[in-house]
Amino acid sequence: MSKVLLIEDDSLFVKMYEKKFSHEGLELETALDGDEGVEKVRSTVPDLIILDLMLPKMAGSEVLKKIKEDPKTSGIPVIVLTNLNTSSDEVAECVKLGVKETLLKTDVTPSQVIELVRKHIAS
């Protein structure tokens, strides 16, 4: 079964996605800060990563850099799911590093995110 890692610090947001993933029969791992995120990317090597950018301990863009630096994890597709404007410098930096999607949290519903997750895992 495909495994997705959600790196996100808002527990209510995490809870919502845990429910959605279990309802869809998908496995979801979670990490609540940047450090834990990097650690879990390395230990679990997920099939896809959903990454928030404003994270405690290590910013999302730093997490992404670390993922991309490591040849073991650099090929994992990453979806950025943030509240920072898609025109912000942080998001632009992530686009440069190579992410599949940059989404504004308020623009999408969990169902739409699941659709994108399936699409990128399949390809």
Binding site: K19, K20, M54, L104, T109
Partner: protein
């Protein structure tokens, strides 16, 4: 990290003073000006940070409300009866409205601070963008006796230079406005070439705009007094203002072409054709503004 300066800024600090014509006095004035400049930069940075954090903190709860309601409505938490569905749909619409308002307020703060980023594309096809929008709105319109369509011009039109996302946003604003005030009839989008520009028009057969409101249309928070109809509810009154700012930045214009009470309104906007002299002028201007912004960022940045 520079130590935070807490002294309030006073307007009379420097320019109400007479500077004596001595090197010492000038040196002192320069010192004062430098201090003032640094303080302003600090305040500017604090304001940027405040806006960014406030928007982040406002959006998170809204995303959670929207997401959870969408899941209940989709039946993820079990069967929902129609009455509950009806109530939750209203909540969903309300939270969507709130999200839009936050987005618009952020857009405005960026437009007014001159920090809005324009991702200029050389060749944008407005008709294609309109098609996409109309397709995405079909679900909304389905329930009402309103036809929405894109009227293709007989002869193919040239592309325009623009920021695709911003133009889409303007199209959404104009079309949702038209739908808001058209309970039955049609909303038609048409296009024509006028000199160095392509003009896009959105014509509705709705209630029209009273004379006294016409000149207020493109102002901030301007809202017609009359209630809205249908499923798309009243907005913030910021849409046309933002549209105007966007289009003007891109070298075009937005205007109310015509409006008659009971017969409907037509709004139009123009954009410079790819490769035209106006397009080149705008590209230069945006490029220089953005390099200025980058310079500003560099000055601000660093611990």
């Amino acid at each position: 990290m520079v130590k935070e300066d807490q002294t309030p800024l006073k307007d009379e600090t420097i320019y109400n003073k007479r500077i004596e014509n001595t090197p010492e006095a000038y040196k002192k004035a320069i010192r004062e000006l430098t201090h003032l400049y640094l303080r302003l930069r600090q305040l500017d940075k604090a304001k940027d940070e405040f806006i960014s954090i406030a928007s982040h903190e406002l959006r998170n709860p809204m995303a959670i409300i929207k997401g959870n309601i969408s899941m209940i409505l989709a039946g993820d938490a079990g069967l929902v009866n129609n009455e509950v569905k009806d109530i939750l749909t209203d909540v969903f619409v309300a939270v969507e409205r709130q999200i839009r308002l936050v987005n618009e307020l952020l857009d405005i703060s960026r437009i007014e601070a001159g920090t809005m980023y324009f991702n200029l594309k050389e060749a944008v096809n407005v008709i294609q963008l309109s098609d996409l929008l109309v397709n995405s709105l079909k679900g909304v319109v389905q329930m009402r006796p309103v036809i929405i369509k894109v009227e293709k011009p007989l002869k193919e039109l040239p592309t325009v230079q623009a920021d695709q996302d911003k133009v889409s946003q303007v199209l959404i604003n104009l079309v949702t406005n038209a739908l808001k005030f058209t309970s039955k009839g049609s909303v038609i989008m048409s296009f024509y070439k006028n000199g160095d520009s392509v003009v896009t028009c959105v014509k509705d057969s709705g209630q029209g705009i009273p004379e006294e409101q016409k000149e207020l249309l493109f102002r901030k928070f301007s809202k017609p007094a009359s209630a809205s109809v249908g499923t798309i509810t009243a907005g913030s009154g910021l849409g046309l203002y933002i549209s105007k700012k966007y289009i003007e930045h891109l070298g075009g214009q937005v205007w109310l072409e015509s409006s008659k009470l009971g017969e409907g309104s037509t709004f139009c906007f123009s954009l410079p054709i790819t490769g035209s002299s106006k397009a080149k002028e705008v590209a230069e201007e945006i490029k220089s503004l953005q390099s200025l912004k980058a310079l500003h960022e560099n000055l601000k940045g660093g611990p």
